[in-house]
């Protein structure tokens, strides 16, 4: 399970040491980038917020334990407790001055990644107003390079080739895409006016480390599989302990080949699947781009080959020893309406549908050229990679055991935890 690449020490040449501000430091990509920058010998200010009784510092400490960052490296990192949605990022005066006076480059990863229109206000507040707050803080400062972690999906509702450049978009699938698109424009205008070099990094869908499977986030690719795994365990227990009373009600049973039969049909649509990049590739690509392109630009960090949903279903069946889950033609659902499990999937597919059945092609000639020059290659999403990632996910109970690893004594405290305190005001 433990990958050799896990331990992060200062092993890289400490040339041109710079000071970075990384926002979204407790997030999946933000933490990976921050740790890599530290490993390169840079100094990092990490913007993070406290949550549920945990201070920002405590959360970051737990993360650094997860990355196995040594003490020397840790001394190069300083946590700034802040909130994107607040003026001056909610930073104290000293921290504002530190950002203005010392930060050379910004890596802006903080983002509300919800797709839900219900959360529109929140998403806008973080992704748009938060960015504006950040730009306001750094306007006066010495920062000369701004890395905006955007997404390939700012392309919106189009099909065919999506250019590796700013472009016009007429419609979006969701509020996330829309705000990420608007954020690019805001950043571009601001950087243009203030002589700051802008890098717009547009990854597609990022999953765990392709070699070790390690990840901090179990959404996107992981979520539907996690759902299946949840029901697999639920019904298996029911079959083993309660004669399968509940399983029968759902048409679930143990098949003769030892697999669990879960009746889940996934509606097929003509499209070419999902674009997946492992986090190690994303980080490597980011570093390569930063190094090779002092003039900045727009960069598609994507996989040149999509993974078909059909392929994913095969992987899932094989890894999880499941049967019953299959691709079905739309008219099948007319004859036999969706069952409860399928409805859960339908919801997920409605949300992620545009990414799972993606016919968009992300042109990436500029990025590809840079990466080729540095031997950075995005691996295919093979069964082995899938299995490695799923093994880690299952071992970590889809994030719930993330910090029990290696005796950090942080059982069940997920960084992504969103529980809220009980007595809160409600109406009005």
């Amino acid at each position: 399970m433990e990958s050799q690449a896990r331990s992060v020490r200062i092993t890289y040449p400490i040339n041109h040491q710079k000071t970075f501000l990384v926002t979204g430091g407790t997030g999946f990509l933000g933490s990976h980038l921050a740790v890599r920058l530290l490993a390169y010998g840079h100094r990092v200010f990490l913007l993070a917020r406290g949550r549920k009784g945990d201070s920002a510092v405590a959360r970051v400490r737990r993360l650094l334990d997860w990355f196995d960052v040594d003490d020397g490296t840790r001394s190069m990192l300083e946590v700034l407790e802040g909130e994107m949605a607040q003026p001056l990022l909610g930073l104290n005066e000293g921290d504002v001055q530190a950002v203005i006076g010392r930060v050379d480059e910004i890596v802006h990863c903080a983002s509300d990644t919800s797709f839900s229109a219900r959360k529109r206000d929140h998403v806008v507040r973080t992704n748009i107003e938060g960015l504006q707050n950040l730009l306001e803080v750094v306007q006066e400062g010495r920062c000369r390079a701004f890395h905006l972690i955007s997404t390939a999906y700012v392309a919106g509702m189009v099909s065919g080739v999506c250019r590796e450049a700013f472009g016009d978009v007429e419609a979006f699938h969701n509020i996330y895409e829309e705000t990420k698109f608007r954020a690019e424009r805001i950043a571009a205008d601001h950087c243009d006016q203030n002589g700051i070099v802008l890098y717009v990094h547009r990854p597609s869908i990022v999953y765990g480390d392709a070699n070790s499977g390690r990840t901090l986030l179990f959404n996107a690719l992981y979520y539907p599989i996690r759902t299946l795994n949840y029901f697999q365990r639920l019904y298996t227990r029911d079959i083993q302990e309660n004669n399968g009373e509940k399983a029968q009600g759902m048409g679930v049973h143990m098949a003769s080949d030892g697999t669990l039969y879960l009746p889940v049909r996934i509606e097929s649509l003509d499209a070419s699947g999902v674009n997946l990049v492992p986090v190690n590739h994303f980080v490597a690509a980011f570093m390569a781009i930063r190094k090779e392109k002092p003039e900045g630009g727009v960069f598609h960090i994507v996989n040149s080959r999509n993974t078909a949903i059909r392929q994913l279903v095969v992987y899932i069946r094989r890894f999880f020893q499941l049967s019953g889950i299959r691709i079905a033609e739309p008219d099948e659902f007319i004859k036999q309406p969706k069952n409860g499990l399928e409805l859960l999937f339908e919801n997920h597919i409605q949300v992620y549908g545009s990414y799972m059945r993606d016919s968009r092609v992300f042109e990436n000639s500029r990025t590809a050229a840079i990466l080729a020059g540095q031997d950075v290659v995005c691996p295919d999403f093979s069964y082995e990679t899938f299995a490695t990632c799923m093994r880690y996910a299952v071992d970590m109970d889809w994030g719930r055991r993330l910090y029990q690893e290696g005796d950090t004594g942080c059982a069940k405290k997920s960084l992504m935890d969103t529980k809220r305190s009980p007595h809160r005001k409600s109406a009005g």
């Binding site: 919800s114 839900s116 969706k338 499990l341 859960l344 997920h348 949300v351 009980p422 005001k425 009005g428």
Partner: protein
């Protein structure tokens, strides 16, 4: 020796009098039912323990008798745990232990001398039913209301008849003794205290059903719970609110509002007639031509028309096809609008807009579970508000035709019996991850999801009982196996869950009549009360909203929560009062349809039209 931990628990008694009704079918404290004084119920014993530990009262003969009369049967543990999570048996044991040690140490039990006034009182009500023993008096001396101090009466008397009530009034007047009448003291607003005489109505428990006239005659010691039980047996229903409240006291004090108010009204809508003893000791009926006009309303603090000695309460018909359901909403505005529409269209009987706090707290047998359930319902599945309804088959069909998602009785039972699993971390993580434009509850509550939910929740009495103390699990398992414990109609008629709202801390409730077509005003009230509480560091939450009078008006509850034993918390309320009083006074005076219940206290006989439309 007193244990400070036990004393603290004793002092936390909320005085909601739930231990005076048999709401779980366990029976009631036998000593209480035999002796009738509050002091002989668990509630009184909690006060006595606290008072003894703080050396406020001596060990008197009365006290010894109270302590001896407890047989440690443990009913109080079950009853109290159900609503507060507390286990008062510890207190009862502590009292016995203390008394034994006291006697073993050779101390004397102090006899309490009578005096001429007490003799005269005993002359009226019988020797047993009047006392000046401090152990009894102390249980009539305070409640958790944060803005009043302890007030020991000189006497407590329990009249058994209307004539005795009248005689007590005349006697008190003649001797210049101030007096107050007490139902079950559940108003918890510092109303039932006096330096003189407290008349406790507990012995007057007469209920007489006059079916042809659709009326039931109720004496002032009868609680809502007892009345509902009696009339349900005959196929009727009465408008009831808090189960331990006396019906007469409730009508006079607050005008008796509840979610049933949508169909049954409030104030004068609840009764056909009322009989009173006035402040001279004369008996009158409200319907008598020469009676004082208690149907009118004055916008000022006004005393009650007298002591109600009998209420002629309206009986309501029940159809065999009634059931309860929830219609979920992601916003208060939508929920309030829907509730109003139901009332306007006369669909349904009981209607209320509930938020996450009431919903999770009422449903959960423990405070910790309630917190998790609240998170589960609101944050995870996006169900912030529900419109709760009771109605017949036609009402249900109408609602089904109007709303895609409805939590019906079966689903509610599934939730109640599977509650611990609804709040299970793993399931919550999964549900929290459901991103989409529709709130997750819209998917989860679809009919096709039932078998899935059934597998996830594993609903059963055993599952439901999983979250309580181990030694109570068997009891809870049996309790949850009883169909009424998960039956929305029964639960709302007998209202045995509502006192759970104060499980963490005592509540300080704001009740405001509001114009139902002005959701902006309703939201403004909630926001302002919330902000004021936040400014003073007071826990607070939305309570409920019920439409009235075909959706024209409504009644809103917003609650503050305080530890009534913490002087700092009382101080917070005192300071906040300087802000919320003028806010609500001003709003009541300037906005049509807004009326703070403060002005209706003791004017519960007034016609609602007299204060809702002026």
């Amino acid at each position: 020796m007193f244990s400070e931990q036990t004393r603290q628990m004793a002092a936390q008694c909320r005085h909601y009098a739930m231990c005076k009704i048999d709401y779980l079918g366990t029976g009631i404290c036998a000593s209480g039912m035999e002796n009738h004084y509050v002091s002989h119920f668990p509630q009184g014993r909690m006060d006595i323990y606290d008072a003894l530990a703080r050396e406020l009262i001596p060990i008197t003969r009365g006290l010894a008798e109270i302590v001896d009369s407890c047989d440690l049967c443990g009913i109080c543990d079950k009853q109290c745990h159900f609503v507060t999570g507390m286990r008062p048996l510890e207190v009862m044991k502590g009292l016995k232990q203390h008394l034994k040690e006291w006697i073993d140490q050779g101390n004397d039990i102090i006899p309490v001398e009578s005096d001429p006034e007490l003799d005269a009182l005993r002359e009226i009500v019988g020797w047993r039913w009047a006392t000046n023993d401090p152990a009894v008096l102390v249980t009539y001396a305070n409640d958790p209301f944060p803005l009043a101090e302890m007030r020991m009466p000189r006497y407590v008397a329990l009249p058994g008849t209307r004539d005795e009530v009248a005689a007590l009034v005349r006697f008190a007047n003649a001797r210049g003794i101030p007096y107050v009448v007490r139902g079950n003291g559940g108003s918890v607003f510092g109303f039932v205290f006096s330096d003189g005489l407290v008349m406790d109505m507990h012995r007057m428990k007469g209920i007489e059903i006059d079916a042809e006239n659709w009326v039931v005659l109720v004496e002032p010691g009868v609680t809502s719970f007892e009345l509902q039980q009696a009339v349900v047996k005959r196929g009727f229903r009465v408008n009831t609110a808090e189960p331990a409240a006396t019906v007469c006291g409730n009508i006079v004090c607050t005008g008796l509002f509840s979610t049933w108010a949508n169909a049954y009204g409030v104030n004068a809508d609840s009764f056909v007639d009322m009989e009173f003893v006035d402040n001279k000791g004369d008996i009158f009926r409200l319907n008598a031509p020469a009676a004082p006009n208690a149907f009118c309303f004055e916008h000022k603090l006004t005393p009650a028309p007298g002591i109600c000695i009998r209420a002629h309460v309206r009986l309501h018909p029940v159809t065999g096809d009634e059931e309860g359901w929830f219609v979920p909403f992601a916003s208060f505005e939508e929920a309030a609008a829907f509730a109003r529409e139901m009332s306007q269209r006369r669909i349904g009987l009981a209607i209320g807009v509930l938020g996450g706090h009431y919903l999770s707290t009422f449903m959960s047998p423990s405070a910790a579970l309630a917190d998790n359930v609240r998170f589960s319902l609101t944050e995870a599945i996006g169900l912030d508000y529900v419109v709760f309804m009771i109605g017949d088959r036609f009402a249900r069909e109408a609602v089904n035709a109007m709303q895609e998602v409805v939590i019906d009785q079966d689903l509610f039972r599934m939730f109640m019996l599977g509650l611990p699993r609804l709040a299970d971390d793993e399931w919550l993580d999964l549900v929290s991850g459901m991103d989409g434009d529709r709130p997750p509850y819209e998917i989860l509550l679809q009919r096709e999801m039932r078998p899935v939910l059934d597998a996830v929740l594993q609903p059963s009495p055993e599952t439901a009982a999983r979250q309580v103390d181990e030694d109570l699990r068997e009891f809870y398992t049996k309790l949850y196996a009883r169909p009424e414990m998960t039956d929305m109609v029964w639960l709302n008629m007998f209202r045995i869950l509502s006192a759970r709202m104060s499980r963490r801390k005592h509540m300080f409730a704001f009740l405001v009549y509001v114009p139902m077509d002005r959701v902006d005003v309703i939201e403004q009230i909630c926001t302002a009360l919330g902000r004021i509480a936040d400014d003073y560091g007071i826990d607070n939450d939305y309570g409920f909203l019920t439409p009235l009078d075909m959706g024209k008006r409504g009644i809103l509850e917003y609650d503050y929560y305080i530890d009534h034993q913490d002087p700092a918390e009382k101080e917070k309320i005192r300071k906040a009062a300087v802000v919320f009083e003028p806010f609500l006074d001003n709003l009541s005076a300037t906005t049509k349809g807004v009326k703070w219940l403060k002005y209706i206290f003791s004017q519960g006989c007034a016609r609602k039209e007299a204060f809702l439309y002026t």
